[in-house]
Symmetry: C2
DNA sequence: TCCTTATATACTCCATGGCGCATATACGTG
DNA sequence: CACGTATATGCGCCATGGAGTATATAAGGA
């Protein structure tokens, strides 16, 4: 999942599709990348469930599927808790930097 | 950034650090990976700003830094809008699947 | 049917990156 | 200062994956 997103062109395709579905040719033109490249990346995205396609004459219309990105979002959840919990920690940190009153630290942090 | 996250061991390290900081040895033991591997991944994570370390005798204590993951979170934002907007779209889709009344589609989709 | 458009696939080349192993560096301790 | 512990780095090997080029497949139109 993250490997799929690691490729810049693929992220570009996803970002392009977020507004509306597109044909391969449209993606090719808007992102200025060769057609085989687009098709290959679409294949990867499709097999990973990031996009799906429907046939429209000779065109294929590709559109986003939410699930994989939702999983990424879910993976991020614990870290979101982490960084919101550390808004306070920053304050505590700044407090700790106040070495001018070096009283014995009582809230000692466990390792 | 996504390339850094593409590596499973690195994600494991991050997930481990979310609860508290750890030394290299602790990570090594808890994730059952050889020490050079841990150090190398930590290097990548450090250079990408995902973690930072402080010296504690011969140990290095590594802890999370929120910024890069917050960027990932930010990248995800437009897609979040997309999938919440498509709760309705799902209903419309199911509606469209009702092929039992195949009248000429009037809401023809623009490309 | 032939030609054009649209998309997918096959193949080769090359760069990148992870791993294992050995080794270097740094610090604390007897 | 010698030794053990903790961590970092260097090197060689190998697999993976992206780019480019050529070609295959499929559908529409004259």
């Amino acid at each position: 999942m993250f490997e799929v997103l690691a490729e810049p062109n693929r992220r570009a395709i996803l970002s392009l599709l977020v507004s509306s579905q597109r044909s391969v040719g449209e993606i090719e033109r808007q992102l200025r990348m060769p057609q085989p490249t687009v098709s290959k990346h679409l294949r990867v995205l499709r097999e990973a469930g990031f996009v799906e396609s429907t046939v429209d004459a000779q065109r294929r219309l590709y559109r986003l599927k939410p699930e994989p990105l939702q999983e990424v979002d879910a993976w991020l959840a614990p870290f979101r808790r982490f960084w919101s919990a550390h808004v306070d920690a920053l304050e505590r940190h700044l407090d700790r930097m106040d070495q001018s009153t070096p009283t014995k630290r009582k809230t000692r942090r466990r390792t």
